[in-house]
């Protein structure tokens, strides 16, 4: 199993541009999550999904959109990128929130908006 894969690894965007961060998992997990990680701030939940076709907002959803058309894929869309969206983005998946195995995280995407 590849686990959780994310593309791209790095990206530089200009202010106002848009992009999609890709996330795929091959563990047949129902739950998937998008987090952003800023220095000294821990991880903040952007959006999450409990299954195909179902998404919900996390703590910091403004400026982002998601979709979940399949169990495997959970892309994160940034519209009109702003410098405040400079961050490291992590996708994660799990069987459920409280399982012994926890959430499996991808390697992250480092995004810079200039």
């Amino acid at each position: 199993n590849a686990g959780v894969t994310q593309t791209p690894k790095f990206r530089i965007l200009k202010i106002g541009q848009s992009m999609t961060l890709q996330c795929t998992q091959d563990m047949n997990h129902n739950y998937m999550y998008w987090y952003r990680q800023d220095p000294g701030m821990g991880l903040k939940l952007i959006y999450y999904s409990v299954g195909a076709g179902i998404t919900d907002k996390g703590e910091v959803p403004n400026g982002y959109n998601v979709s979940r058309s399949t169990t495997e894929d959970f892309p994160l869309r940034l519209e009109l990128a702003a410098p405040s969206q400079t961050s490291v983005y992590f996708c994660a998946s799990s069987y459920s929130i409280g399982t012994a195995s926890g959430q499996y995280f991808g390697p992250g995407t480092r995004l810079t908006v200039t």
């Binding site: 821990g42 703590e59 929130i97 390697p107």
Partner: protein, 112 residues
């Protein structure tokens, strides 16, 4: 009320010593408390987790101590090794949500 407060921000320990990281929460609905370990350039990975029906859980050199009345939990790393040098995050979630709330992280450095 959704916050999880973590301390210290950074920790330096000598090889063989005990590393202790503390977290506190306010939301009494939280019922799942995991700790994640993150190495530079990698995503976090689950280290150990506890539920409030027990006061302690041990896995190898890693122990979670849980104090329900004080709403605090801590991670103890016994016989700390240089390979334990990483950032550690505590987290919590409530039984009626699917969302983890993370602490701000502790950067642990273990010197030989």
């Amino acid at each position: 009320q959704q916050q999880v407060k973590q301390s210290p921000q950074s920790l330096i320990v000598q090889k063989g010593g005990i590393s202790i990281i503390n977290c506190a929460y306010e939301n009494t609905a939280f019922d799942y408390f995991p700790w994640y370990q993150q190495f530079p350039g990698k995503g976090p990975a689950l280290l150990i987790a506890i539920r409030p029906d027990v006061s302690e859980k041990k896995e190898g050199r890693f122990t979670i101590s849980f104090n329900k009345s004080a709403k605090q939990f801590s991670l103890h790393i016994m016989d700390s090794q240089p390979g334990d040098s990483a950032t550690y995050f505590c987290a919590a979630s409530a039984y009626n949500t699917d969302k983890l709330i993370f602490g701000t992280g502790t950067r642990l450095q273990v010197f030989p």
